[in-house]
């Protein structure tokens, strides 16, 4: 075969492969929207699930998802940024740092179900809490820390060296340089990392099944005292999230409209992930402009 023909054929093959990737995404999202969007309604989003008849919603699950997400980010962001600062500014090149980096790498590629099982052992059985939203959030924190640490470290490292050195040369202490020069400039990167982490946490189910549980305890949406047992804000109650709910009703749903509920919840989950993705892009671009006062 002559070289030119081979070249054209190869180009065609690559175009087909790339088109396949796009088709897979469009097909997937299109299918989910087609199946799920008709079931998304205010009633679906706010009413409690039904036990045996059709027409239940995912209100409590949606609330739990958001609550677990907020708690998770409350733990993940400070610790993750702290770890990122340590690796970017304080860590040397010794064996301990290398060990730390390997540990983060290992943690980031552990299957989420292993993290869930560890959470079951520690936050459910060892502490005696049982299935709790707090336990779920802590398990998700472990699962998300590596990503947060990595994005924070990268964001801090990408701040121009001159800025740091100028600050140090003015006699500003190292820590103050970190908090008032490096962190503000690294903010766009850290925010993007935070939103992407949040998107991942919102859809995670395997780590939550054995920690936050598969049932949503009865809650009273008029009671907002976090210490009262019926309050939706009580972190010590079990709380099934939206993603866990999709899994549960698809595999063992008793209600006649289990498929429709799963379809609606899936569409909702994908929409939220899409929004998070878009938000991460827009916000980081906006912050970047604001922080650096550049017009690029």
């Amino acid at each position: 075969m002559n070289a030119k023909l081979a070249d054209r054929l190869a180009t065609l093959v690559f175009i087909c492969i790339a088109a396949l990737l796009v088709i897979i995404l469009i097909g997937l999202v299109g299918y989910l929207m087609w199946r799920g969007l008709p079931h998304l309604s205010w009633h679906f989003l706010t009413s409690p699930p039904a036990f045996s008849e059709a027409g239940g919603g995912v209100g409590p699950q949606l609330f739990n998802s958001i609550y677990v997400l907020i708690l998770t980010m409350l733990f993940t962001v400070p610790i993750g940024v702290g770890g990122g600062i340590f690796l970017a500014e304080y860590a040397g090149n010794g064996w301990l740092t290398r060990f730390l980096r390997s540990a983060i790498e290992v943690l980031s590629s552990l299957p989420s179900i292993v993290v869930g099982l560890f959470g079951l052992l520690i936050f459910v059985q060892y502490t005696g809490w049982g299935y709790t939203i707090l336990g779920g959030a802590l398990a998700l924190m472990l699962f998300n820390l590596p990503l947060m640490v990595r994005t924070s470290e990268e964001a801090i490292r990408s701040v121009p060296r001159d800025q740091k050195e100028a600050s140090l040369a003015l006699g500003v202490s190292h820590w103050r340089t970190i908090t008032s020069v490096l962190l503000p400039s690294a903010l766009p990167g850290i925010v993007t990392g935070t939103i992407l982490t949040a998107g991942r946490a919102f859809g995670e189910a395997a780590a939550l099944i054995f920690t936050a549980g598969m049932s949503s305890s009865r809650v009273d949406f008029t009671d907002w005292n976090p210490f009262s047992p019926l309050s939706p804000l009580n972190p010590m109650r079990s709380g099934e999230t939206l993603a866990v709910n999709i899994w549960k009703v698809s595999s063992e749903g008793l209600v006649p409209d289990a498929r429709e509920i799963a379809a609606g919840a899936s569409a909702l989950l994908v929409l939220v992930v899409l929004i998070f993705n878009l938000l991460a892009r827009l916000l980081s671009r906006w912050l970047y402009k604001k922080m650096t006062a550049s017009s690029v």
Partner: protein
């Protein structure tokens, strides 16, 4: 600087300010140290706890390691007259490896091909279009992949290919789509590191684009491609819910791709909640979790080894 601090009040405040800054700095440093400590503690305790739970099957319950690993019969409720409960997990390990390997075989060419398209064929608009596609595919939650597999793929296989629909094949297809973005994005990163001089040299010698891709770029990027595929396999091996939803959860040894089966992760998912902690049935599940942990460690170290090799070659 050399003046005694007590000479003037101004110097004194400066000294106390500096002391304050020092304390602050120390405080900040210990905060970051604390963060790092939590991460280390978490990783170490995950290994310690999963090992101690997973090994108790063999040390406390005295199950024979080889019987456990090579046995193909799994029946926790087998009666005493038949010999009591039996736990052989070979069928699950086998199914895990089969679906992981086959999904990598499907996803690798598509992922690497897309990466080449993004960097070599249409570096300008190709990346602009495909980068968000890849990011969105990564972002879609695994239960959503599972749901799509359950409602679209399983009925399709049942109707047009045969069998129950719930099968290893369904698991393979779902997993290959799930690991596709992982492979693609790592492959893109690799391709971007190929130096433009090499490419320019090749074109200057009159090589076509395909010749350049095949003879230079692919070879230079081979270690990176292997890394990409291993990362994809690690994800496939550890994926639990999406697989569990489509694979059928049969405890028997699958004989063809159209048979239902169970993977290590799906067995853990199905049974961990229904067994009592401390019983043999529960400990066996922890042993499966230990296998999972060991395999993901193997994947990570394989990636490291390849990374070092690649550096030596360059």
């Amino acid at each position: 600087m050399s003046l005694p601090a007590s000479r003037s009040p101004e110097v004194k405040t400066n000294a106390s300010l500096m002391k304050f800054e020092k304390v602050r700095g120390l405080f900040g440093y210990s905060l970051t140290l604390f963060s790092v400590f939590i991460i280390l503690l978490a990783v170490i305790s995950i290994y310690v706890f999963v090992f101690s739970k997973g090994l108790s099957t063999f040390f406390v319950d005295k199950l024979h390691v080889w019987d456990f690993l090579s046995g193909t019969e799994w029946n926790p409720t087998r009666g005493e007259e038949a010999g009591g409960p039996i736990y052989g997990v070979f069928a699950f390990i086998y199914a895990s490896f089969v679906v992981t390997f086959l999904s990598a075989v499907i996803a690798a060419p598509i992922g690497i091909g897309s990466a080449i398209f993004m960097t070599e064929i249409a570096p300008k608009w190709g990346r602009k279009v495909l980068q968000p596609v890849v990011e969105l595919l990564v972002g879609i939650p695994s239960v959503v992949y599972g749901f799509t597999g359950l409602t679209l793929l399983v009925p399709f296989i049942r109707q047009y290919i045969g069998g129950l629909g719930f099968s290893l094949l369904a698991g393979v297809i779902v997993l290959s789509i799930m690991i596709l973005p992982t492979i693609t994005s790592i492959a893109v990163d690799t391709l971007l590191t190929v130096s433009p001089e090499i490419k320019a040299g090749s074109y200057a010698l009159g090589a076509t684009r395909w010749q350049t891709i095949w003879r230079l770029i692919m070879r230079a990027s081979a270690p990176g491609f292997v890394t990409a595929v291993i990362f994809g396999m690690a994800r496939a091996f550890g994926e639990a819910l999406a697989v569990q939803m489509v694979i059928g959860n049969s405890k028997k040894m699958p004989e063809s791709l159209l048979d239902p089966g169970s993977t290590i992760t799906s067995v853990i998912t199905m049974n961990m909640g229904n067994t009592v902690p401390g019983t043999l049935e529960n400990n066996v599940l922890w042993s499966l979790a230990l296998i999972l942990l060991l395999m993901s460690t193997v994947f990570i170290f394989a990636v490291r080894l390849i990374g070092q090799r690649g550096r030596l070659m360059n």
